[in-house]
Symmetry: C2
Subunit: 309 residues, 2 copies
């Protein structure tokens, strides 16, 4: 096999109470990448569809940076590949745009090389893309984009990625108000010291969420979807966020918070019907505010990165 077309989904990181450790994958929305083996060495980005902002420079694009890290680890730094990237996750949306590209790259190249690495092992290479994109090699988007479902980073050093159980009925609604927030800026806004009592509230909710997901206890999932660390600060940057939270819950969502560092907002609901109602709630809210928005509804993506026919 000399070429492959792959897809890696958009993702929601943090998931309210799981700052830097928790994330889940969406269906349908994600980046596509065509990868071709080349006879000579080197990594080249031939085309980027769907974004004018991203660099084709191999040192400045997450696709090539993540791939190079994997080739180095494999002891084959001199292999050659061409990449044709189709961005369907908008950079700066808070839906793991850079992660989708990084995940697609390492997943696709790994396939072309007959899978020297497991999907879980690919997470560390995709994280190099995240480091380029945001300055920090976080895994809470690349892990779910690669593996699908809900992923949990128990530890960054050494990297320890878990795949959580979750009820199949769970559906996500995400809304991307058309403003841009850079992850690097959003991370800088957070305080580096937090109150112990806030940390206790946060890990109480995180434990509750993990237990609720594993038990399929939707009420508990809803009670646990609270963030007292990042949301109080980041929420200020997102017009309409507080109202989106209130209205989505009034309209049946289990909970609602910021996707990654925003500005996208996510809600979780039991079943697609409720998730669609929440989507309507989001649409009409941002119409009222006069802010263009993009809304997506889907079940949780159980597969993660995959080969397209």
């Amino acid at each position: 096999m000399d070429s492959i077309k792959v897809f890696a989904p958009a993702t929601v990181a943090n998931v309210a109470c799981g700052y830097d450790v928790l994330g889940f994958a969406l269906q349908e929305i994600g980046d596509e990448l065509i990868i071709r083996k080349t006879s000579g060495p080197g990594l080249t980005i031939t085309e980027i569809h769907g974004s004018d902002e991203l660099s084709k420079d191999a040192d400045q694009n997450v696709v090539t940076v993540a791939t190079q890290d994997m080739l180095n680890a494999l002891g084959k730094p001199g292999l050659g590949f061409e990449f044709e990237l189709t961005k369907k996750v908008k950079p700066g949306s808070g839906l793991g745009s850079s992660a989708s590209s990084s995940a697609a790259a390492v997943f696709g190249v790994n396939r072309l090389l007959d899978e020297p690495f497991t999907k879980k092992e690919l997470v560390q290479f995709a994280m190099e893309g995240e480091k380029l994109a945001s300055g920090v090699p976080h895994a809470d988007n690349v892990a779910p984009s690669l593996l699908g479902g809900f992923t949990f980073i128990r530890s960054y050093n050494p990297l320890d990625v878990l795949q959580l159980d979750y009820p199949q009925e769970l559906c996500a609604t995400v809304v991307h108000p058309q403003i841009e927030i850079k992850t690097s800026d959003a991370k800088r806004m957070l305080k580096q010291q937090i109150e112990l009592r806030d940390a206790i509230v946060q890990w109480g909710n995180l434990g509750g969420l993990i237990h609720g997901l594993s038990k399929g206890d939707f009420d508990l999932i809803g009670r646990s979807l609270n963030d007292v660390i990042a949301e109080p600060i980041r929420g200020i940057l997102i017009p309409g966020f507080q109202e989106a939270k209130v209205r989505s819950k009034q309209n049946g969502a289990l909970g609602c918070s910021i996707s990654g560092s925003g500005p996208s907002i996510f809600a979780l609901s039991r079943g697609m019907k409720k998730a669609q109602i929440v989507a309507e709630t989001f649409r009409s809210l941002f119409e009222e505010i006069g802010l263009e928005s993009y809304v997506h509804v889907s079940p949780i993506n159980p597969k993660g990165a995959e080969v397209l026919k």
Copy 2:
């Protein structure tokens, strides 16, 4: 029924990464309480066996304070009971001594009153005993003492107590070096502000532990039993703690940390045989150090507070 004899077990709170939210119950070791209905009103402690330090004053003993809170909530503050307490959990041990007494009291009186409250509802009343004992109404000892198993406090306000799944093979070894640390002092030593990066490590481990317990993944349980918040500070107060940690793991323990605010140390192991080897390890270590110690080994107590024949 006019009198009852009840038992409420000793407990291990925090469990490394679950500061203020996680705890589990031990078998065999715990407080016993004989409760008799009286014809007149008022709560009286008639005898305390096994401790000279505790007050019999109804305003100064956790047994009567917790009971009074329950009777107030029931709208029957004027009922009368006598209590004969046998302390088998030493105050200041870090094994939930006050919690065992509080839990036994509200559990027993609730039984004598034909159970107006569920065991879970009793947690809030037993917490009033904890408030008296340590200044803070924490629930991470009273919840497992009442309910058994591993309990998790998702939220204190409102109180939300979860019962976690765990593998039946899991066994605990606890060692109580004969020095005393007051919970109130130990709590004061902790910093009220913590580094965000430490909080992330902590909630990573907490999520890993909950997932590991529910899956019966012993290796993951072991990897997750780390505490970067309380242990680095409290461990200094306990002679031999670092060595106990190293040696218990060398001898097969999954993990080892401080029980509650110490000085007791706990280890978790897979099966009683390994837990017994860890017990020997602890015994010989404290012999070397020249510090008297009490060692207990048991499976996790699945029942919590119970009526004795």
